[in-house]
């Protein structure tokens, strides 16, 4: 099994005619994903790798005989993202992966709030999407199908990461160690994201294939504290191993700077790498110092 998507999941790409979206569409199709249409306003009638393009999601649904797609990958410029996501939510789409970065927080918060009202889930923004190895991927995660296969083999570990690239690095390490990956989710590098670690934990908890969790974390925000609280409050069957990047940002000289992702801005005492490591370890989540220590740390907990 898997979380969020499976072999039957249908999705669309909003902003499908953009350069990156064209690549992403190709990569997902090659990997076996079911893309049932694309939307770019004013580009109705075109095709992208055989995928029909529409002006609106309404048209797309009509074209498919009224079938509402399960998901949407949104890759439109930051100024237009909120409207595109609102369109997806109001069309009844339940899973929205937002690739776009540099979206103001107010817009993200509005999208999340509407999604909550309508029962939809958002992954991202500023993410590469998710992959169920050997089954389907939704977003640019892992790159071309051939590269995705190389890094992601089916297995027992669920991966959640604030960095898209590090999702692949960690999954590749787990694959090489023979553990493999159940579902890997690039959750996004922004200060406010649709789905945090703690919010995805119940899904992994319910997934029989998943036997352990690996998370990649960074300074900034309270997402790790939230996970630690979740672990304390829920008697989870899943052991968790964490990797913390950006420890150098704790240096006095690095104060007030953000590195890597927008979400790494440290706004309070709880946001630093060292504070997060303490919190995670207090919750029984070991924090390893090297990516290559992850497989052994997972095996020790299985």
């Amino acid at each position: 099994m898997s979380i969020l998507i499976n072999e039957d999941t249908t999705f669309i790409v909003q902003g499908i005619t953009g350069r990156e979206a064209v690549n992403l569409t190709r990569e997902c199709l090659d990997y076996g994903s079911k893309i049932v249409g694309g939307v770019t306003p004013g580009r109705k009638g075109r095709e992208v790798h055989g995928v029909p393009v529409f002006d609106t999601i309404d048209q797309l649904i009509d074209h498919n005989g009224g079938a509402v797609p399960d998901g949407s990958v949104v890759t439109v410029p930051p100024g237009f993202t909120k409207d595109a996501v609102f369109e997806a939510i109001e069309s009844g789409i339940g899973l929205i992966v937002i690739v776009t970065e540099r979206i103001p927080r107010r817009d993200v918060a509005q999208m999340v709030e509407l999604a909550n009202l309508r029962g939809a889930r958002i992954i991202g923004p500023n993410c590469l999407g998710l992959v169920v190895p050997g089954v389907a991927k939704m977003g640019g995660i892992g790159g071309p199908a051939r590269n995705t296969e190389q890094a992601y083999q089916p297995g027992q570990v669920g991966v959640m990461s604030r960095s898209g690239g590090m999702t692949t690095e960690i999954s590749s390490t787990l694959t090489a160690a023979g553990l493999g990956v159940s579902t890997a989710v690039s959750i996004g590098g922004d200060a406010i994201i649709g789905s945090t670690y703690a919010e995805l934990m119940p899904l992994f908890e319910a997934d029989e294939q998943t036997e352990a969790i690996v998370i990649y974390t960074e300074p900034g925000g309270r997402m790790e504290a939230q996970l630690a609280e979740w672990v304390a409050a829920n008697d989870s069957r899943l052991p968790i191993v964490a990797f913390m990047a950006g420890r150098f940002m704790d240096d006095e000289e690095m104060k007030g700077m953000s590195f890597g992702h927008a979400g790494t801005i440290v706004e309070g005492k709880e946001d630093t790498a060292s504070e997060k490591i303490l919190r995670l370890e207090a919750a029984g989540i070991p924090v390893v110092e090297r990516i290559d220590e992850i497989p052994d740390a997972v095996k020790a907990k299985l």
């Binding site: 790159g143 590269n147 420890r247």
Partner: protein
Amino acid sequence: MRLFEFESRQIVKDAGIPVTNYGYALSAEEARSAAAEIGGPVVIKSQVLTGGRMKAGGVKFADTPEEAAAHAAEILELEIGGHMPRGVLVDPKAEVEQEYYAGIVWDGTRKQPMMLFSDMGGIDIEEVAEQHPDHVGRGHFSNLLPFSDFQAKQVIAQTGVTGSELNRATPILAALARLFQTCDMTLAEINPLARLSDGRFVALDAHMDLEDEARPRQKALMAQLGIPAEEQREAHEATPFETAVTAIDSADHRGVIQGKDAGFHGNIGLVIGAGGGSLTLTDAVRSQGGKPANYSEIGGNPSVAKACGLAKAVLEKDGVEKIAVMMSIVSNTRVDIVARGVIKACLELGKDPGETIAIFRIPGAWEEEGFKILDHYGVEYCDRSVSMHEAARRAVEKVQGAAA
């Protein structure tokens, strides 16, 4: 983007929140006339984008316009935490009965803005929250539904404030919540919010951060505050390396490169990527005893020229003899293009790529082509079977071996 106090106060004032009749001065002379206009004791406050100005001598009291001018002259020349002030604020000395705190921040867990109010103002709110939790009121508000004043009232009432104080403070916190939304702030604070002896409330200081991502749609606000569109307000002034990398990046739309070196004093040049990979690799180099000369990020499939430009900028830094070229597994960026770029940088600077590139560890798309080129120039490289930390260890060993 952090705003100066004089800008934050302007925003507060424009939102209808009462402020004192302060003046803003760029010279001692202007401070004198501002003080004369106020006609009583004043406070001269340095306008710097850093904390601790009180301790550093950036806030002084004056009884006469002459004293105000003298203090202003001093403060205008006073560097605080590496920042020179941008003018001084001349504020009438207020007859304060009580100080409060009013602030709005983002709560990433709830994914909503949160109001904070305390009847213990003038000090750090985190401290108050820790030591006197019953003196801090909190409340989230929606970004979709219209804001209503009762939400602010509830937050203030939590602290036990009642009577006319409650009714006077409510519209102030409500206005702050509304401007937080309309101006795309990530932080909006009034501290202290003062109740004067006549019962009026005024904002005595304000602190605001405008979200960088929202700058494109806050042009009107920026123009009103007189902030040029290109003005950057980092925690420090851009270094020559940072300026050079920014110029290389903007000269070509393909891919993205970033470079930082403020606070880095080492000898290992880092040509690394992408976001999370760079954080991981910087830590990895340090954990192996290496001292990075810089931080960088390569992403989004840059051109040969861009990769070359970054490598050159790093190699041109004082004390950098070798660079480590490393990334987490790439899927979008082409390995061969980065390889070409960094080799080109070495050759153009008259350096031997095999000697200069301590390690090349970029696994992923087009790696076979990349490895062929690296072979040709005798550069040590590795694929994904060598971990990021092991690659960092090899780089550190070579650089320190060379230095010893």
